[in-house]
C-alpha cells in the first residue's frame, strides 16, 4: 500500500516539468501502469486525489493507461501473454522467460497551462520559438 509514496514522487516529477516550462498549472497527467508494477490503480487514483492538494496539479486529472504482460520464451523463442502469477511460456510452458512488457510504472505525459507570458515555448518540432510568445497559452 505504497501508492501515496508513488504519487508523491510522480507529483515531484510533474512539478519539475511544469517549472521547466514555466507553467502555473498542470491539467492532465497520463501514466502507464503494468500489472507487474505492484501498483493498485484504484488506490493510486485515491492517493492522487489527496497528494495533488496544494500543488500545481491541484485540479489535474490522472489518466491511467494499462499494459498487458508479454513474455518471450528463452526455450522455444515464442512471445505470448501471461498473468501476474503464471509467467510461463504460452506455447511450450517453460518458465525460462524474459519479460517484454507488463511492469511499467511510467509518467507518460503532462499537460500544462498558464505558461508564463515572458517564457519561450518550443514549436511543434521541439525547436525554440524564434520570438518569445506575447500571449498566455491557455
Amino acid at each position: 500500500m505504497h501508492e501515496l509514496a508513488i504519487c508523491q514522487e510522480m507529483l515531484s516529477l510533474v512539478e519539475n516539468v511544469a517549472m521547466e516550462r514555466g507553467a502555473a498549472r498542470v491539467d492532465r497527467i497520463v501514466v502507464i501502469i503494468g500489472p507487474l508494477s505492484g501498483v493498485e490503480i484504484p488506490l493510486l487514483q485515491r492517493a492522487f486525489s489527496v497528494a495533488r492538494t496544494r500543488t500545481p496539479a491541484a485540479d489535474a486529472t490522472l489518466e491511467v493507461e494499462t499494459s498487458d504482460i508479454r513474455i518471450s520464451c528463452r526455450s522455444c523463442g515464442a512471445t505470448s501473454g501471461a498473468v501476474a502469477n503464471k509467467l510461463t511460456c504460452g506455447h511450450c510452458g517453460d518458465w525460462r522467460v524474459d519479460l517484454q512488457q507488463g511492469d511499467e510504472m511510467l509518467l507518460k505525459t503532462v499537460e500544462l497551462s498558464g505558461i508564463d507570458r515572458t517564457g519561450e515555448i518550443a514549436d511543434r518540432d521541439g525547436e525554440p520559438a524564434h520570438a518569445p510568445i506575447s500571449a498566455t497559452v491557455h
Partner: protein, 271 residues
C-alpha cells in the same frame, strides 16, 4: 534511463507510448509534454548513488525481505555467528517502531543502524542513504538491509542494494510465491526458513514452493534452512561468498527488481 526499476522503455514496450515528439500543443491550446520517466525516478536516482557508494567500497548489499515474523533477524544472528570474523558484517534495520532488532544485532558485536519508518511500510533509497552515512563502509564486506516485514511494498523500491533475498517460513504455506508474485519474482534468492519445523508440519512441500517460484519466470535458487541448525546454513553462506566474489571480480550487480527483460549481471540463474 535507470536500469534497475524496470521503468525504462524497451523495444518490447516502446509501442505503448506514441512517438509524437517531446512537445506538442493540444487541440484546446494546452502544452503537452511527453515525459517518459519512471514514477520512482527520484528514488532510483538516489538508489543509483547508494549503489555507486557501495561499489566503490566493494561492499555487497543484501536486501532481506519477508512477512513479519518469518525469521529475518534470527537468520542474521545465525549468519553473523557463522561468518564473522572471516567476513565483516554491518546491518541496517528497518521497522516501524523500536530499536529492538538493531539491539539484537549489536549484541552480536556487529554494527547496526536502525531506521524507524513511523508508518512507512517499506524502506526507500533516501532512508538507506542516511543510514549508510552512519556506517564506516571501509570496515565492511557484507551489508544486510533488513527491510520492514511486508511481502508487498518493499519489492518495488530499489534501495541501492545489489541482491534481493526473500524469506518464506514453512509455516506460511508453500503457495505464497503465487500469492505475492511481485515480491517473489524480484528475488535473486529465496530462503525457506524455520525448516526445523517441517517434521511437525504436514502441509508444506519445499518442491512445491520452488515450483511456484519457477512459475513466476524466476530461476532463483530456493534453499531450505533453519537459523537453529547451523549445518543447514552452508548453501546460504556459500551463495553469499560467491556473490561477494562475483561483485569484487568487477561485475556490476543490480537487484532482480522489476526486470524488463534486460540481462541482469551475475544474479540470474541460468538454465
Amino acid at each position: 534511463m535507470c536500469e534497475t526499476c524496470g521503468c525504462t522503455l524497451t523495444p518490447g514496450n516502446k509501442h505503448l507510448v506514441s512517438a509524437t515528439g517531446t512537445l506538442r500543443h493540444t487541440n484546446d491550446g494546452r502544452v503537452s509534454v511527453e515525459v517518459l520517466t519512471g514514477l520512482l525516478h527520484e528514488n532510483n536516482r538516489q538508489a543509483a548513488h547508494n549503489r555507486e557508494h557501495l561499489d566503490q567500497h566493494k561492499v555487497l548489499a543484501v536486501n532481506l525481505m519477508s512477512s513479519p515474523g518469518s525469521g529475518k533477524t534470527r537468520l542474521l544472528e545465525a549468519t553473523i555467528r557463522a561468518i564473522c570474523p572471516k567476513l565483516r558484517i554491518g546491518v541496517v534495520e528497518g521497522d516501524l517502531e523500536t530499536e529492538n532488532d538493531a539491539e539484537r544485532i549489536r549484541a552480536q558485536g556487529v554494527p547496526a543502524v536502525q531506521i524507524t519508518t513511523g508508518r512507512a511500510c517499506h524502506l526507500d533509497a533516501h532512508m538507506v542513504h542516511d543510514a549508510l552515512h552512519e556506517m564506516d563502509l571501509d570496515d565492511l564486506d557484507l551489508l544486510f538491509i533488513e527491510n520492514v516485514g511486508n511481502l508487498v511494498c518493499p519489492a518495488s523500491f530499489d534501495l541501492g542494494h545489489h541482491v534481493n533475498v526473500a524469506l518464506l517460513s514453512v509455516t506460511e504455506g508453500d503457495d505464497k510465491p503465487a500469492k505475492y508474485p511481485v515480491m517473489f519474482r524480484a528475488a535473486d534468492l529465496v530462503l525457506l526458513s524455520k525448516c526445523d519445523l517441517l517434521e511437525v508440519l504436514d502441509d508444506f512441500d519445499t518442491e512445491a514452493a520452488a515450483a511456484h517460484v519457477r512459475t513466476l519466470g524466476n530461476g532463483a535458487d530456493v534453499l531450505p534452512l533453519s537459523a537453529r541448525q547451523a549445518d543447514t546454513l552452508k548453501p546460504w553462506l556459500d551463495w553469499l561468498e560467491a556473490t561477494l566474489a562475483t561483485m569484487r571480480g568487477g561485475a556490476k550487480l543490480v537487484p532482480r527488481m522489476q526486470a524488463d527483460g534486460t540481462a541482469l549481471y551475475g544474479t540470474e540463474a541460468t538454465g
